[in-house]
């Protein structure tokens, strides 16, 4: 083997359409998964390069001479055993492991040209189909959603060359620091893509493949990631079984967090992007071992009417109620907010059809306005909780709790939740900065002001559609204003 031997007479035998790098590199003869070489003529993977290995035997038997190492991405000629360095093979390298420069990453969003694959099909990089490996559409949809989150995508595109780089994390997620009031503290973290977990590496590779404009085919196979997910979750998320997207999203984000070097309190790119915090006020009986009688009373309070909750809501958060309730305030971090939607109606409508109710997003977000109570069943009996968002992340994941398990099977709530595609205003759900924090519960006046400002923002909401004028006229006509 000489290092000067760079060109190879067999390069013309390479058949690019039969190459597919989306699958797990396993030897087709021995099923081992390390030291794998891919035959560039027929696209089959074999182990080894030296004599007696399947790859060597294949090269002699079939007269296929060009191989590529799936670990290092180098090209070899077998059975002669010399390395090939040839610029005409660059397209294979790029299809195998796409690499992005900083400039390319910056420009990727403005790129609107369609790319062409080997078969002449056109595709838009970043908007490619993912193969469904028997009911893995949930994984596919989740991947597609995450892949379009800009900072996350850029992070993984940068990992392409495998070189460590510096990342600035602004979010100090350690709770102690937050309590001290130091909200923004940037720290530089060295990111070494080599240290990532297998799952994260697979995800990163998939991200790079989805956004690549030099692919051989216009679809991407998430096979390796699905495999990794299945392994890491102990088959909880497995091929052939539909999974619940909310559950999967939570698990997957957590795995990405751990895999990119995040710890329980330490920050990672995932926490940086998605983590916010919410203040939970729990109301419960002062006496922990409450008797049945007490609990019954509690139930009644919950169901009496809504005025009751409003009354309680107007009190300052730390005050204890007279009816032996105490409030505990604690703060938790979240990656996604789960929203409850009202139960679907039990009865059919006049026409005999099922009614599909509608509940605007603004309504179901009330769970987090710090005034509305939601009842939670816990081990200690019924608890009433009040949520108030303390800090919103730069990317907010909202999850609508649609599936419910009853005794027999899953039940789906088909309620349609209309939401604004642009300009979702979450200002009302966020605590005002430190000074105002105490008076976060609105007074009568403030409630009124809210309803007014809500109306005003309403037509900002809709200026995207053409409802603007309509709403404006309504305001003019409205006497109550």
């Amino acid at each position: 083997m000489t290092s000067e031997a760079q060109t190879c007479p067999y390069l013309s035998t390479i058949s690019r359409p039969s190459l597919d790098f989306d699958f797990e590199p396993t030897c087709s003869v021995t099923l081992v998964s390390n030291n794998i070489y891919c035959c560039l003529v027929c696209g089959v993977n074999f182990r080894g390069r030296s004599k007696q290995t399947p790859a060597y035997i294949h090269s002699v038997d079939e007269d296929h001479n060009v191989f590529m190492s799936l670990e290092k991405g180098t090209f070899w000629c077998l059975p002669d055993g010399y390395q090939i360095v040839d610029p005409s093979l660059d397209d294979i390298t790029r299809a195998f492991k796409p690499v992005y420069s900083k400039e390319e990453i910056a420009l990727i969003d403005s790129q609107t040209d369609l790319s062409r694959d080997l078969f002449g099909r056109r595709y838009l990089p970043g908007f490619v189909g993912l193969n469904n490996l028997n009911k893995t559409d949930c994984i596919n949809a989740t991947i597609q959603a995450l892949v379009h989150v800009k900072p996350l995508r850029d992070f993984f595109l940068r990992c392409g060359d495998g070189m460590p780089f510096e990342l600035i994390l602004a979010n100090s997620s350690s709770k102690k620091r937050k309590r001290d009031g130091i909200q923004k503290k940037t720290k530089k973290v060295m990111v070494d893509p080599e240290s990532f977990s297998h799952l994260v590496k697979m995800f990163g590779e998939l991200v790079r493949k989805i956004w690549s404009d030099k692919r051989f085919k216009s679809t991407v196979d998430p096979h390796m990631l699905v495999q990794a997910i299945s392994n890491d979750s102990n088959k909880r998320f497995h091929v052939g079984k539909q999974i619940e997207a909310g559950e999967f999203m939570a698990w997957f984000l957590h795995q990405l967090h751990l895999g990119t070097g995040g710890k329980k309190s330490g920050s990672s790119i995932i926490y940086e992007i998605f983590q916010g915090s919410v203040e939970v006020t729990t109301q419960r009986h002062k006496t922990m071992h409450s008797s049945d009688v007490h609990e019954k009373e509690d139930d009644r309070y919950g169901s009496e009417d809504e005025n009751e909750t409003d009354m309680e809501g107007k009190e300052p958060p730390k005050a204890t109620n007279s009816n032996e309730m105490e409030e505990i305030i604690h703060e938790t971090n979240f990656l996604q907010l789960t929203l409850d939607i009202p139960e679907k109606p039990l009865f059919k409508d006049d026409a005999g059809g099922l009614v599909i109710p509608q509940e605007p997003l603004v309504n179901i977000l009330k769970k987090f306005d710090g005034v509305t109570f939601s009842d939670v069943l816990t081990a200690n009996g019924l608890q009433r909780r009040r949520y108030k968002v303390k800090q919103l992340p730069s990317y907010l994941i909202l999850c609508v709790a649609r599936f419910k398990q009853n005794e027999f099977n899953n039940e789906k709530n088909p309620t349609i939740v209309p939401f604004p595609v642009k300009n979702l205003d979450l200002g009302r759900y966020v605590m005002r900065s430190s000074n105002d924090e105490k008076s976060s519960i609105p007074t009568e006046d403030q409630v009124h002001e809210m309803s007014v400002s809500e109306r005003c923002t309403y037509f900002q909401y809709f200026d995207y559609l053409i409802i603007l004028y309509f709403k404006k006229k309504l305001i003019y006509l409205d006497n109550s204003l």
Binding site: D109, L124, G126, F127, G129, L130, N131, N132, D137, N140, A141, T142, Q144, A145, L146, V147, H148, V149, K150, T219, Q242, E244, A245, G246, M249, Q336, P393, S394, L396, I397, L398, C399, V400, R402, F403, N409, N410, K412, P414, I416, V417, P418, F419, P420, V421, K422, N423, L424, D425, L426, G427, V430, H448, E449, V452, C456, T457, L465, Y476, L481
Partner: protein
């Protein structure tokens, strides 16, 4: 109208509504005021970047097929930032779609992006 004046007063800008008599004018003044202070309001504004929906075929829930989770399919809506176009992706199928349709789809998971990042 009275309320609107009160509101301006609260924000320390009663001067804006001082010389205004008609209601329509006052509303205009208020709108101007709001659009001027828009950058502040923007700090909590979010735009959708991705949306995962879950659809079940219509025959589910009748005879035999009972589990909506097992029968249903997921799809994803994502936006191309360069062209502002929305795409609906279901596995291998990628097609363009209208943003108006996304807002009323059976949304399951939504990812919002903070404005002005």
């Amino acid at each position: 109208m009275k309320d609107l004046r009160e509101l301006l007063k609260k924000h320390g800008r009663e001067d804006l509504g001082a010389g205004v008599i008609e209601k329509g004018e006052l509303v205009d003044v208020c709108i101007n005021f709001i659009s001027k202070s828009l950058p502040d309001l923007l700090s909590h504004k979010y735009d959708l970047v991705a949306n995962i929906t879950h659809n079940i075929p219509s025959e589910v829930g009748r005879e035999g097929k009972v589990d909506p989770l097992q029968e249903g399919t997921y799809r994803c809506h994502v936006q191309h930032k360069g062209t502002q176009k929305w795409y609906e992706i279901q596995d291998l199928d990628v097609r363009e779609t209208m943003p108006q349709l996304i807002g009323v789809s059976e949304a399951y998971i939504m990812i919002f992006e903070k404005k002005g990042l």
